[in-house]
Amino acid sequence: MTRILFFGRMSEAAGCSELDAELPSELRTVAALRSWLADRDAALKQLILSPGIRAAVDRGFCGDDASIVGAQEIAFMSPLSGG
């Protein structure tokens, strides 16, 4: 099982802030996971494919070509806004 977290506007689109999913073994990168989630959930589709949505694998920011093989936690984050 892989835990998928959603932050900010992403959590609203997903309807939850986290979900546990059994990811198909052919999903190997962040980009592939984005497409998989987009196909699975129409409400997520627009946001999850947007370049403004950053990803983190096991609590480290990463690009779309990063590997998700063996990852325990993958997060998708709408624009960060501190201060």
Partner: protein
């Protein structure tokens, strides 16, 4: 360096006083910034802000940004306190303070760290008020200030 995530209201005055008291004799300058929750925004009256973070990643990312600033300006010490949870008007959201030998480094460090926090720190803000609820994301001005800093 001290980085703290506060899940309850904190006193910026007492944390700043404590930081100032901790300074060594080489520190000739202390500059600070406190950001407060306002009771009004361009959407109307503000009742509260909900600030979310990503435990673990948020602390690590602020620490990384703080280290960049310490090195760039040769700071003696740096303090960052950031609220999460439900924040109501007049409560502090963020406190940044820098100790350096001379004033220029401390002023620049505080301003630059705030510019980084606005766009690069893993927090998400949801505003609730007379105009309903909405997510607050960085403005074009925030992005421009961040872009001017480079990597």
């Amino acid at each position: 360096m001290r980085v703290a995530i506060a899940d309850k209201p904190f006193s910026a005055d007492s944390m700043l006083a404590q930081f100032a008291d901790s300074r060594t004799g080489a520190a000739g300058a202390l500059a600070s910034f406190v950001g407060y929750c306002r009771d009004v925004s361009d959407a109307g009256d503000v009742h509260q802000l909900q600030l979310d973070h990503y435990p673990g990643l948020t602390e690590a990312e602020i620490t990384r940004l703080a280290n960049t600033i310490i090195e760039r300006h040769g700071l003696i010490d740096l303090l960052v306190v950031h609220r999460v949870g439900v924040v109501t008007p007049n409560e502090p959201i963020v406190l940044v303070a820098a100790l350096s030998s001379h004033r220029a480094q401390a002023f620049a460090a505080v301003a630059e760290l705030m510019d980084y926090l606005k766009t690069d720190a893993p927090f998400w803000k949801r505003e609730a008020g007379s105009g309903g609820e909405r997510w607050i994301e960085p403005t074009d001005a925030d992005r421009a200030r961040r872009a001017a800093l480079g990597e």
